[in-house]
Structures are given as C-alpha cells and as structure tokens.
C-alpha cells in the first residue's frame, strides 16, 4: 500500500485516497468549438505512460482535497506531490 503525502495532511495510507486519473487535462475553454474527434479525445483518451506520470488524487477519507502527484508507473513510487494550481 502506497504511503501518499497529502500536501495538507501529510503521509497517509493509500486507502484514504481516491485516484483521479491524469492531471493537467484542462476542461476545454469552448467545447462547442471542438470537432467530435477532438471532444472524444478529451473525453476518452489518456496517455498510458511508463515512467513519471502526473496524476490527480483526492484525500477522500481525510481533508477531501484534490491534489496532484507525480508517480513513476514502473516502480509505483510517488516522486512528488503538489497542490492544485501549483506548477507541475
């Protein structure tokens, strides 16, 4: 079980958290301007990287705050965590 450093609460067990998929996938500023394919890519297509991967987590059983983490998908090691709005 991962030990995840919530930027608000500190290190906590993985079971306290909820996974939120890839980070930095912004909601399009004007969805109506996108083609079906572009909208489909936004909705359904995410990278499946081997190595450091920026992803979202929520401390569901704690402060209920969302934050970002960079996790190495090969080793499962969380390299760093940062708050929403902070640079990747």
């Amino acid at each position: 079980m991962l030990l995840i450093r919530c930027p608000w609460c500190g290190p906590r067990d993985e079971t306290e958290f909820h996974y939120g998929g890839a980070a930095h996938v912004a909601y399009p500023s004007d969805p109506a301007a996108l083609s079906d394919e572009e909208w489909g890519r936004y909705l359904f297509v995410r990278e499946n990287l081997k190595g450091p991967f920026a992803e979202r987590w929520c401390h569901t059983a704690g402060c209920r705050r969302w934050f970002n983490a960079v996790r190495d998908t090969l080793t499962n090691e969380i390299l760093r965590v940062y708050r929403i709005g902070e640079p990747a």
Partner: protein
C-alpha cells in the same frame, strides 16, 4: 515402524514430564508440549500422513517447517481447519487430525473464533528471529530504535537447531511477535503479517482472545532474515514416506528429541549433509551410507558411516513386501554416470540438494534476484525499497557469519534512519555450534545436480503436493513451452499451498536442462503474497456480519421496526420496503399502500434522500454548470427539478433544487448517490473552477423528511400547521415554506414523486420521530397509511418518473428518457452539453424510456427481460442466437390504479414504436406479447398534483 525408541532420552526442547493426548486417523497417540503434530507422529512411528492428490501415492513428512510440501493434514478438533502442514501445528491435548488426499474440507459450521487486526509502525521490522534476525534486532534495540521482530515459530532462535541461548537478545526492547508469519510485502515498506494466538492452546484457549490477528505494519526499514530452505533432489521414488530433507532430521533430533529413523542413508550434494551424519550418528542412528556425487567427500565425518559413496548418487527409493510399500525400505545407489547398483536397507533417506535463500518477501518488495552459480541459488540483487537482506537469506551458511551479517544489516538500516548504531556485537558462538564452512569452500564445490538422470522420470517428483514429476516438466518443454511461468501454469508445479518453496528451483533446473539454458537466463516465477496460506477469516477480521458495512438508519427507524416494516438496503441505508398487515405479502401490502396514496393519504420516511447545501455568491453559476437546466434564475422560495450528466452526456443523478436565499441552494440527490454527487461537485470546484466562490456541505443527516402524499394530504398538513396557508394558490406546486409543523420548526416543500398532491416536511433530524408520530396521529381520521420504497417505486413508475441507476445505466441521456425539456438550449455550456451533439447521442434510434403493457394484464414481466421485434421471429419462435434485441425492461410492477401490470423499458427508437406489439422472451421459453406505450401511464395530464 513402531514408535518404540524413536524418542531420544535427552535431546530436544520438549517437556517430557507432561503428556498430551491426540488422535490421528482415529488412533490415539501421545506427545509432549513442544512437539508439533509432525514430530509427535514421527515419534509414534507414523510415517504415512496422506495420499497424493493426483496419483494417490503415499506421502509423509518431508521437512520441519512452513516449506512442508507433503505432510498436510485436516484438523478436526477443536475446530475443522483444512490443509494445515503438520510441521506447523503445535501439539495440544485433545487435538484431532486426519490424513488428506490432496484437498482439505472447509468447516461445515460457523467459526466461533474471533479475529482481529492491528496497525503498527516501527523504525525497523526484522523478519525472522534466527541468528541474523536476532543480531539485527538486538543492535537496533540497543541503539534506541522502535523494533518489531516477527517469526513464524513459537520461539525465537530460528530454524537452525544450532542457535543455543539467546540471552544476549534484549526482548524487552522490541515488540517480539512469535507465531507470526509476515506474508506480504507491499509498496512503501508496508508489510502484512498474521499472528496465531490461540491454536497452540487447544481447548484451553481463552474465549476473549482473538484466534488470529492481522498485523499491518509500516516500517522505516526492513531487515529480512528469512533464512533458507533445503531443496530435495529428484530421483525415482523421492516422494516415499521416509525420504526427508536432511537438515530437518537434525531439527527433529535437537528440537523435538525425535529420531526420524533407526538406519539412515544421507544423500547430499553439499557439506551441510555432513553435520547431519555427525549429529544423527552421535544420537545413536545407524548411518548406513553417505552418498555424495562429488568425488571427494570431504575430510573426516563425525561418526560411524556404514558405507561412503563418493562420486555416487541415489537413483531410487523403494518400499518392500516386508515393511509395506507405503514406506521406505531400501535405497539404490549407483556411480555418477551409471554402473553397478548397490541396494542398502534404510528406514530414512535424508536428502540435501543445497539451500535456497528465502526471498519471497524480498521479491514481493520489488527486489531483483540474480542466480549465483557458486551458491547454486538465487540471491538478492538490489531493491528500491528500504530493505536489507541478512544471513542465510543471502546465501550465508555459518551461524557466526549470520550473526555478524545481522549486525551489519542493522547498522546499515539504522544509519539510513538517521539513528547512530551503538557499538555492540553478539557474543561469539561456541565452536560446537558452528555450522559447516561456506559452500564455496567445499571440496569440489557445489555440483548443480538437481535430478538424477534416468530412463523413466515418472516418479522423479519435482512438486510433491501437485504430483508434478520431471516427466511432466519435460512434457511441457516438449510441447514448446520456454518460459518458467508457462511451465508453471502448464504443469501446476509451484501452485500448491506451499507455492513451490522446495520445488521452484528444481523446476527451473529441469527446464534449463531440457532447453540447454542456464537457470540464470530462465529466471524464476513471480513470488506473490501470501508467503503461506492465510485464512479469509483472519483477513476479514472484525469486518464481517453486522460490522462488514455500516448500516445507516433514519431517526424514525425504530417506529418502522415496531410497526412490522420489512426493510431493504439502499446504499448504506436501511429503508422501509413495505408494511405488511396481518396475512399480507408484498403484493397485497403494496396494493393497499398504493390505493391509500392515490385515494386518501399515505406517508413515507424520505429522510434518506441525499441533501447538499450550496452556498456562496457564485452558487447559482456553479449549479448552472452542473445541471442541464438553468438554476440561477430560480426565485427564492421556489424549487426546480434538475438532472446532472457526466461529461459524456449520460444521466448521472437527478433531484430537486430549492433556492433558500440569493446565495443559498438546497439540493436533493438519489439516496444511494449522495456521496458521489458531493464528490463530483467538489472535484469540479477544486480542480477546474477554483475561482468560483461556492461551498458545498452534506446536510443529509441534518434533515428528517416525511412525505405526506395523497388527495387528503392537505387536510392532514392543515391540522398540523395551522399557521400555514395550504391552498394551492398560496402555496403552489414546486415551492417551499418555512413554518411550524406539529410545534416543530419545519420546511415544507410541495414536491411530488407520485403525481398526487404531496408535501415533503423537513425538520431537524432529532425531531424526525416526533414529526412522524404527529403526522400519524393527525392523519388517523383519514386512514393515513405508512408506505415504503416498493410503493414509492410503483407510484413513480405509473407516472413515468425514472430512477437513476434502475431505469438508467450510464448509457442514457436525458433525451433518451424523454426529458429534452430539462436540457437548456440557452446556456452556453454545462457539463455534458457538448456530448449531446456527438453523432452517437444524436442518433434517432437510441434506446428510449417507454412504457410496456403486457397483453395479459396479470403477467408481471421480470425486470431485465429483453424485448424483441416480431420481425425477427421465425414461425413464432426466436431465431438462432445471437438474437437481435431492441432493449430491456428496467422496472416492472402491478398497478392498483391501472388495475393491471405494467413496465418501463429502454427500447431502441421506442418513442416511434408507441402502439407497436413487441415480444419478451421469458426464462421458461414463453414469448409474451407486450404493447409499447408512453412512459406516463397514470394521469398523463398531471391533473392530480394540486389535489
């Protein structure tokens, strides 16, 4: 073989002054405290312990530890327990066990034992309390670290009988967990162990003590001092009872005072077999032969040996007519490479095929292994987790070397923790307790003999529990399998309860020989938790029965119980399902409740509805983005129905929104979806729209809600709230009023989920029961009837109101539900809007929510049943599968108001099929005709909502 004289007079750590009585396969035996079931059976001369699963061959005890592949028994008393290695069952008075044929039997009665869990943190977790582990823990304790030391055996000291006296171990300074198997090693040094607390006490076990405890340990540093397992060698008949791992014979002698035989042959490919010869000879066992494929068999051997066979191998083990074919009687010895066979009589054949470091946990932690040609086994080769391997687990063989290595490992780990290690070493062990020199110093080195060459490999066993032989492995490679993982799955070698502890390397060696490849390049199969089997009861701990999942009940729950309600679980909530009167079943009760709601007055506990309050100057804007319709234009005092969709445009939840103040809204959600809706709102607020000044709070448990429903509901409310103008003009549909009801501060909403005139009365949770009882009393003159979720479902379905999650399944848009009116055309954007323009969501033949009327008005369609187009039928029968289906029934009920059965269904192009006849194939083979109707079957004009 009778048991007379198999118990040594002085050796062992058993309490000879106390006699324990036990039964095995119906026969009474005795043993002593300190025995295992295996040692007691061996002391009583019981050699055959079971029958193999596939071939039905006799099997005995092979080892003295948890790696045991064959000596697996069924415990019958004190409580049935399947597949327990006899080597790990501590003897107690009254134990009853029986032999197995491969498989055990689960208990046929509930387990009365308690199970528990502990969460622990430490600076250093030391796994294994042999010399290396004890030394590591001792240094860490003395240096001031928080230490947990865990070992699967009843006492510290390790598997080797050589460790004598651990007086230098400061047990007070560490948390010492004996009878505790660390069975899993996960990310970030999270390890899980099971502690067996009462099994060794038998019937004397205190009832208040948990039988087993799961330890979930987060460790700063881990030292794995998990030792090594001796390996068997494959030769003909190597599974016969009497054939045993060589060093286990020493353990039986030194720990249990048991002689594993009277006349033994020792077959070893390394020097550790020689100490077996010395110790057994000293204890009075006749060593009939010492067989070593190496040409030179080393210098002196302590003890008399009948025959020394350097450059020889054991080719076969046999039973005979005199002693029975179930147990070992003779051993055939031949020169390496073939030659004349020598047959030697023996009742024990002690085999050492070398030692495999126990690296299961290390490998689970992510540690790499490399094959070491000199040691002849896999050794640790680096891991990113904070773990150090010490002692025999990294190939060391002498006790002194292991002690020193344990100290070194602890020193490294402490330094990494930022703790300064003190200057301390364990007292040096005496020369008598010295193990053999490192294998590398052995004359001739360690030959890589894993299996003895033969014409016929059909009884050269590799995995004893799965009955896998060298022949089976060769069949796998012959079939073209190249990977050890594939061979494992093809042959099942390594998949038994022991997970290949003794067989893994042997399997790889056979594959290697067949493919002319080295073990190093073949690698090893993946080690997965658990290290040894763990019961589900232990893993479940207290989380079973009532404690498996919290049950949420409303403030009015006790009233429902007192009035005979039947309940159903909705999410975590336990809700009233229906209230049967004397002699009524579900159908009769629901019919009566429905009639009351449609013709008089009925009331329901709706407290479980999810409630979320949204506050802030941007609350309206926020809701406009979440809901498909506009909420910001809602007037204070008004209520609006709304639908939320996912980004994909599919319905996610529905409910009402009441505007309490310009910057305050109260949302309701479906009962089971309150948590996910709040999470969804928070996710958008925090991650996409942190600029919006809006805040969400769950208020589900703050408000108890009583729905008063039916044409006479206004009369009931008027009696309870004399200060409230209840007429339809002053208090119109979809508005709310703060008032006093039954003397309680209340918010009354004119919301209807039945189509009838209805009021939802909300009071503080702790006033819920008082309100309910007041409504019951005030409604008595009108025959007010309590109703549950089933009646609620019938009433809403008659009106075509969908239930998200029942009539929808994540592939349904608001338009599919016939609710295009709830989707704003004016708003520039909201969640899901873009998806409504995708080609797939705009298709005209999507599945629509429609009503279905079975042509037989008494036939209740099963929910989930498919509907098909008559055009696909051939001669009135279904065509060959796959049968094209138009959709399926999502809700189906008997309606009192319609005086017939009806259903809601999602049907392709359903709104264009109204009036069509379709067919529903039932389980019993009938094809029943149904007519498609609009979803609103009762009061389609909406004439009843104002009473």
């Amino acid at each position: 073989m009778s048991g007379d004289g198999l118990r040594h007079a002085t050796e062992g750590r058993i309490d000879r002054g106390t006699v324990l009585r036990f039964r095995f396969d119906g026969t009474a035996y005795s043993g002593h405290p300190g025995d295992t079931l295996a040692s007691a059976l061996l002391a009583n001369g019981v050699r055959r312990i079971g029958t193999s699963v596939r071939l039905g061959r006799p099997r005995g005890v092979m080892s003295a530890g948890s790696e045991e592949p064959t000596g697996v028994v069924q415990l019958e008393a004190p409580f049935p327990d399947p597949m327990r290695p006899a080597t790990m069952v501590e003897l107690h008075d009254g134990l009853v066990a029986s032999s197995l044929s491969g498989r055990g039997r689960l208990a046929d009665r509930p387990d009365p034992a308690r199970y528990d869990a502990v969460h622990a943190h430490c600076d250093m977790l030391v796994v294994g309390a042999g010399p290396a582990g004890l030394a590591a823990a001792s240094l860490a304790v003395r240096s001031g670290a928080r230490v947990i030391l865990a070992d699967e055996r009843p006492e510290v000291g390790g598997a080797s009988p050589d460790t004598e006296g651990d007086d230098w171990f400061d047990r007070a300074g560490a948390r010492v967990l004996t009878r505790t198997t660390v069975f899993g090693y996960y990310d970030d040094n999270y390890l899980v162990a099971v502690e067996r607390r009462t099994d060794h006490l038998g019937a004397a076990a205190p009832g208040n003590l948990a039988r087993e405890r799961i330890w979930r340990i987060r460790a700063g540093q881990v030292v794995l001092a998990t030792g090594a397992h001796e390996r068997p060698i494959a030769f003909a008949g190597n599974d016969l009872p009497g054939v045993m791992l060589a060093d286990s014979a020493r353990t039986y002698l030194h720990r249990y005072g048991v002689l594993v035989g009277r006349r033994a042959v020792v077959f070893t490919i390394n020097d550790s077999g020689y100490r077996v010869v010395a110790d057994l000879a000293a204890a009075g066992v006749e060593i009939a032969a010492l067989v070593d494929p190496r040409e030179a068999t080393g210098g002196t051997v302590g003890g008399q040996v009948g025959g020394r066979y350097g450059g020889h191998v054991v080719v076969a083990a046999h039973g005979d007519d005199a002693h029975g074919h179930d147990v070992l009687s003779t051993v055939d010895i031949e020169p390496v490479g073939g030659g004349p066979t020598v047959r030697v009589d023996a009742d024990a054949l002690l085999v050492s095929g070398g030692w495999s470091p126990v690296l299961h946990l290390y490998s689970q932690s992510g540690g790499r292994l490399r094959y070491d040609e000199v040691v002849g086994a896999f050794l640790p080769d680096g891991c990113r987790q904070a773990v150090t391997v010490a002692g025999a687990a990294r190939g060391l063989t002498s006790t002194t070397a292991c002690l020193v290595d344990g100290v070194d490992a602890a020193r490294q780990a402490l330094t990494a923790l930022g703790i300064t290690p003190v200057d301390w070493s364990p007292p040096s062990v005496g020369a008598g307790a010295e193990g053999p020199p490192p294998a590398t110093a052995a004359p001739g080195g360690v030959p890589d003999l894993r299996f003895v060459p033969a014409e016929d490999y059909s009884t050269h066993f590799v995995d004893f529990q799965r009955d896998v032989t060298v022949a089976d492995v060769l069949r796998a490679t012959g079939a073209g399998l190249r990977s050890v993982e594939h061979v494992k799955r093809y042959t099942t070698a390594g998949t038994a309860h022991d997970q290949g502890k003794t067989s893994g390397l042997l399997t790889s060696a056979v594959v290697g020989q067949a493919l002319d490849a080295g073990i190093a390049e073949l690698g090893h199969t993946t080690f997965r938790p658990p290290y040894t089997p763990v019961s589900f009861a232990a893993l479940a701990g207290r989380d079973r029965g009532q404690l498996y999942d919290p049950v949420r009940v409303t403030a009015i729950h006790d009233w429902h119980v007192r009035h005979g309600a039947r309940f159903e679980d909705v999410g975590q909530w336990r809700r009233s399902w229906y209230y049967p009167a004397e002699g009524e079943g579900l159908a009769e009760a629901v019919r009566r409740e429905c009639v009351a709601a449609r013709t008089g007055v009925a009331f329901m506990d709706a407290s479980t509805l999810g409630k979320i309050e949204v506050q802030g100057p941007d609350a309206g804007r926020f809701l406009d983005r979440l809901y498909t319709n506009v909420m910001s234009t809602l007037a204070v005092g008004a209520i609006r129905y709304g639908v939320m969709c996912g980004l994909d445009g599919m319905v996610f939840d529905d409910g009402t929104v009441a505007r309490l103040a310009p910057d305050r809204f109260l949302l309701t959600t479906t009962t089971g979806n309150a948590g996910p809706v709040l999470d969804w709102m928070e996710e958008w607020l925090q991650t996409e729209w942190p600029d919006l000044a809006a805040w969400c709070t769950s208020v589900t448990d703050q408000w108890a809600t009583v729905a008063v429903v039916g044409p006479r509901s206004r009369d009931v409310l008027a009696r309870l709230a004399p200060g409230l103008a209840v007429d339809a003009a002053t208090f119109p549909f979809m508005t709310w009023r703060d008032t006093v009801v039954a003397g309680l501060p209340a918010r009354v909403c004119r919301i209807s989920f039945s189509g009838e005139l209805a009021y939802e009365v909300n009071v503080a949770w702790w006033h819920g029961l008082a309100l309910w009882e007041a409504v019951y009393e005030a409604g008595a003159p009108y025959g007010i009837t309590p109703y549950g979720t089933e009646t609620m479902h019938v009433l809403r379905a008659e009106k075509g109101y969908p239930i998200v999650g029942q009539d929808t399944d994540g592939t349904v848009t608001p338009q599919d539900l016939g609710m295009a009116w709830v989707v704003s055309k004016k708003k520039a954007d909201f969640i899901g809007k873009r998806s409504f323009a995708r080609s797939d969501t705009a298709r005209p033949d999507r599945k629509h929510l429609v009503g279905l009327l079975p042509e037989d008005p008494t036939l209740l369609l099963p929910e989930g049943v498919h509907v098909v187009d008559p055009a696909c039928l051939a001669g009135g029968r279904l065509p060959e599968p796959p049968v094209p289906m138009l959709g399926h029934v999502t809700s189906s009920y008997r309606s009192a108001a319609l005086d017939r059965t009806f259903a809601l269904a999602l049907v392709a192009g359903g709104r264009d099929r109204i009036g069509d006849r379709l067919y529903a194939p039932l389980d019993d083979g009938r094809l029943v005709p149904v007519t498609v109707a609009g979803p609103v079957l009762y009061d389609p004009e909406g004439a009843r909502r104002d009473g």
